[in-house]
């Protein structure tokens, strides 16, 4: 039985704005689902609908097999962590955590034990008698998680919980959330606009845009096999390179023609021939990730196509140096070993690993192969 299934869910606001257009997602017990997309894609609305804070215009939401459309938030057996943490300002940390249990009229002893257990787990025992205003951002975040954990719900909902934290703390908390998930085997729905959070945390990712799920799958699958240009560009940092290129036939094999200001090469394509037959001689968008264009040392594989390219700019990141070149009049980012990267203005021999390259239809932006 699916822990959560979202069947054909639509959301239309009065005035006719369609925010969600037929969402279908199902996850199993214990899975970590990420809803990711740019702002305005409808991910937070969807989360609010799962929580019962927003009405469902049409379609069904089932939690543990039971239709919850008409249930109020408190009867859905969920807990939620908010971006602003939404800690009750007048209550101490202890009261914040126990509030939901009190409302549910649990015995006092049980409430105390739960607060103790949760506080110990999150290492906030020393903060229990403070007010939220006396806590740092990271501590508030922990209390907000504690409040959710204390309820022990069947689904945890997270609404961009880390976006108010500074960069370092965000990475730490990310790991803790993942650790918590592994330990408790809880079912989580997590909304974020940060694709790195999406990739690192999720078992399943739903990439959303304009109220539509663009792709639903495992992180690696979405990274390697993006369904369309949007997903390919949204997931991965630095973003995938999109080079407009013509498909040519050379020596009985299909390839794409790639030029810089001094010359051209044909990169052979590994895809099945019949998928591409119709596109020969036509322009497609050739998608290749930065780490697939690199120096010979990093590639450490023989027989890959090479090209000498003129370097425009380099950006050292530490572990890698990003080299920017211009191919088919498009800025292209390549990830190279720091010691191999040349300087701007010089030429550099770049190796293309086309095995994972993808092709898109420039008109529909759908994946061709």
């Amino acid at each position: 039985m699916a822990a959560l299934s979202i069947n054909n869910v639509c959301k239309t606001y009065t005035g006719g704005t369609e925010v969600l257009k037929g969402i279908n997602i199902a996850i199993e017990d214990g899975q970590f689902l990420i809803l990711v997309g740019p702002s305005g894609c409808g991910k937070s609305t969807l989360l609010n609908m799962i929580a019962g804070l927003d009405d469902i215009s049409s379609g069904d939401i089932l939690i543990g097999g039971e239709r919850v459309n008409d249930l109020s938030p408190k009867d859905r057996d969920i807990a939620m962590v908010f971006q602003s943490y939404a800690l009750y300002p007048s209550m101490s940390v202890r009261q914040n955590i126990s509030f939901g249990l009190e409302i549910r009229k649990l015995p006092k002893a049980e409430i105390d034990a739960t607060v103790e257990r949760v506080a110990t787990m999150l290492q906030i025992t020393h903060l229990l008698d403070r007010k939220p205003s006396q806590l740092s951002g990271g501590q508030r975040q922990r209390v907000a998680m504690g409040r959710a954990l204390a309820r022990n719900p069947s689904i945890f909902l997270f609404d961009e919980p880390l976006s108010n934290l500074d960069a370092k703390l965000r990475v730490e908390m990310r790991t803790e959330i993942k650790l918590m998930h592994q330990r408790l085997k809880s079912t989580i729905v997590y909304v974020t606009h940060d694709q790195i959070e999406a990739m690192t945390l999720g078992d399943r990712i739903a990439v959303m845009k304009d109220g539509v799920v663009q792709q639903f799958g495992s992180p690696q699958d979405i990274y390697d096999n993006p369904a369309n240009l949007f997903v390919a560009s949204f997931i991965g940092s630095p973003s995938m390179n999109f080079i407009p290129a013509t498909i040519v036939e050379s020596g009985g094999k299909l390839g794409v023609n790639i030029c810089d200001d001094r010359g051209c090469v044909v990169l052979p394509l590994p895809h099945e021939r019949d998928k591409l037959a119709a596109w020969v001689g036509k322009e497609v968008i050739f998608g290749i990730r930065p780490e697939q264009i690199t120096d010979a040392r990093t590639a450490h594989r023989e027989g890959l196509p090479e090209m000498s390219c003129h370097i425009d700019v380099i950006e050292p990141t530490g572990p890698d140096t990003l080299v920017f070149v211009s191919l088919n009049k498009t800025k292209v980012c390549c990830r190279t070993h720091p010691t191999e990267a040349k300087r701007p203005g010089e030429s550099m021999e770049l190796v293309f690993d086309v095995s994972k390259a993808v092709l898109f239809d420039p008109a529909s932006e759908k994946r061709i192969a």
């Binding site: 008409d70 249930l71 109020s72 408190k74 009867d75």
Partner: protein, 300 residues
């Protein structure tokens, strides 16, 4: 499984209906006491009601009578004089005080408290105090006489041509501190970096105020104008306490006219017509002001 579901649909239903239920008494009150009563007064103003309400419509007789009434036109002219002076002076004094207080003044808190306390007083108290001070026998006139100007006279309070000006004097005294508070809040809300940028550009302090700070207070000007004109049109207590509309009817304002005709002279229809005229004046002043304000706010 069925009982928790039933309970939960109850609470879902409660959360859905309670807000509307809770709001509805106030809505009903607003509908009756504001909209209904305005309609009632409008209706009354179209009847020939005198001492007792008579709800048969008879067109615009009362308005015709109103416009033929010299006393009404005195009241309107007085409102114009009083309103214009009151708004202009309160605005000028308030803005000046705010700018002066904005110069990192030592005892700012104490001064602000002094400038603003008249706002806590009732207009009746203000009127009583100023009536005594403007009293030609023992008031300011005598004070200046004692100071060595025996020929100084200041008898506006009993001069039919000048009485309305005394109302403006007392009104400005009461309300200018409030205007100061609004402008001061506006001044404190201005982004410091704009002023720093102007200083770096080499602008002098008066230029910064005149060209940068005061223009950016535009929204405050709008609200101040809105409030002051509102106070002016409704002004009743101050005139009652200070001059009682006199000498004679020389310092009448529409609010007094309305009160006298509706409640002491038993001319309900005429009173209602004058009340409707007051409402229309407020609408005519406030609606364009609010429209301009929201438009300028939208433009940023």
């Amino acid at each position: 499984m069925s009982s928790p579901n039933k309970a939960s649909s109850w609470s879902a239903l409660a959360d859905r209906w309670l807000p509307k239920l809770v709001l509805s008494p106030s809505l009903a009150a607003s509908l009756l006491f504001v909209y209904g009563f305005i309609a009632w007064t409008a209706w009354l103003s179209l009847t020939e009601s005198r001492l007792l309400p008579d709800m048969t419509l008879s067109g615009l007789v009362q308005y015709r009578e109103l416009f033929d009434n010299d006393r009404w036109w005195t009241a309107v002219a007085n409102l114009g004089i009083f309103g214009g002076l009151f708004i202009f002076c309160a605005l000028a004094v308030g803005l000046l005080l705010a700018v002066l207080l904005d110069q990192k003044i030592r005892a700012e808190g104490a001064l602000r408290t002094i400038y603003l306390y008249p706002m806590a007083l009732s207009f009746i108290v203000t009127g009583t105090a100023w009536k005594w001070m403007l009293n030609p026998d023992l008031g300011l006139q005598k004070l200046v006489n004692d100071w060595g100007f025996p020929n100084f006279t200041f008898d506006w309070l009993v001069d039919p041509d000048k009485a309305i000006y005394t109302v403006a004097i007392a009104g400005v005294w009461q309300s200018s501190g409030f205007v100061m508070a609004l402008f001061l809040a506006g001044l404190r809300g201005i982004d410091d970096s704009i002023i720093k940028a102007a200083q770096v550009d080499g602008a002098s302090l008066p230029v910064i105020y005149w060209r940068i700070i005061i223009p950016s207070l535009r929204p405050v000007f709008f609200s101040v104008l809105l409030i002051l004109s509102h106070i002016a049109i409704k002004s009743f207590d101050l005139v009652m306490a200070l001059t009682g509309g006199g000498p004679g009817t020389s310092s009448d304002v529409p609010a007094i006219f309305m009160y006298q005709f509706a409640f002491t002279r038993g001319q309900l229809g005429l009173g209602a017509a004058s009340a409707m005229m007051m409402l229309m004046t407020i609408v005519a002043v406030l609606v364009p002001l609010m429209y301009m304000e929201t438009r300028s706010a939208k433009r940023g």
